[in-house]
């Protein structure tokens, strides 16, 4: 998986994989999770489902962070329905504060393989992170509770980052 090569290059002791059925059960039934994973089981089973779990190598079924979306081939947009970090209280955890950026990397790479792909749509993004999402190129869609970033904006952000001076 490309994201594992990315994590290795960044020097982070994390592993990316699909969300297994066992991990999904943990997300659905755990009292630690804040999102409605149960309500999106059909999205997990969808033919065009995109899902990702991130954890430290030694962790058990419950991932440190999980992402669930669906690629809409009709408009070329990957909709992110659920993204949850479970390590917010773990100050030293390498995934803490990085899940959103990793989602953008993973989805950017995924979308690059579709000639007609258009971008990423965040459904019900956290209002507290609006500026953070904007720093990656996302903007609110009309008056909806959604933010969108086009492929071009995502590429532009990555190109700017590459050109920026300093570590």
């Amino acid at each position: 998986m490309f994201l594992n090569e990315f994590l290795s290059t960044a020097g982070l002791p994390l592993t990316a994989s699909d969300i297994s059925e066992e991990a999904l059960k943990e997300l659905v039934f755990s009292s630690e999770t804040k999102l409605n994973w149960r309500g999106y089981l059909n999205h997990y089973d969808h033919d065009d489902s995109f899902h990702l779990a991130l954890r430290i190598d030694s962790d058990e079924n419950m991932p440190g962070g999980a992402i669930l979306g669906i690629y809409n081939a009709a408009n070329g947009v990957l909709n992110i329905y659920l993204l949850e970090s479970l390590v917010i209280q773990k100050q030293e955890h390498p995934l803490r504060g990085r899940l959103t950026a990793l989602m953008i990397v993973a989805v950017s790479y995924f979308l690059s393989y579709f000639d007609d792909s258009q971008g990423i749509l965040l459904c019900e993004p956290s209002p507290n992170l609006e500026d953070y999402y904007r720093s990656f190129g996302f903007e609110y869609v009309n008056n909806e509770d959604k933010m969108f970033a086009s492929i071009e904006r995502l590429n532009e952000m990555q190109t700017r980052l590459n050109e920026a001076i300093g570590p």
Partner: protein
Amino acid sequence: MKKETKRLSPKQTRALLLKNAKKLMSGRYRTDKAELIGERKKEELVA
């Protein structure tokens, strides 16, 4: 959603992302806030 710039190939995208890996994962792009996107559980909304 109009395309205005030449889009990168998968190979170019992969190379750019890998080149940015350390910068993108540095403290500059880390957030201290809870990372949540999507519908909350009902008990979370009540609380």
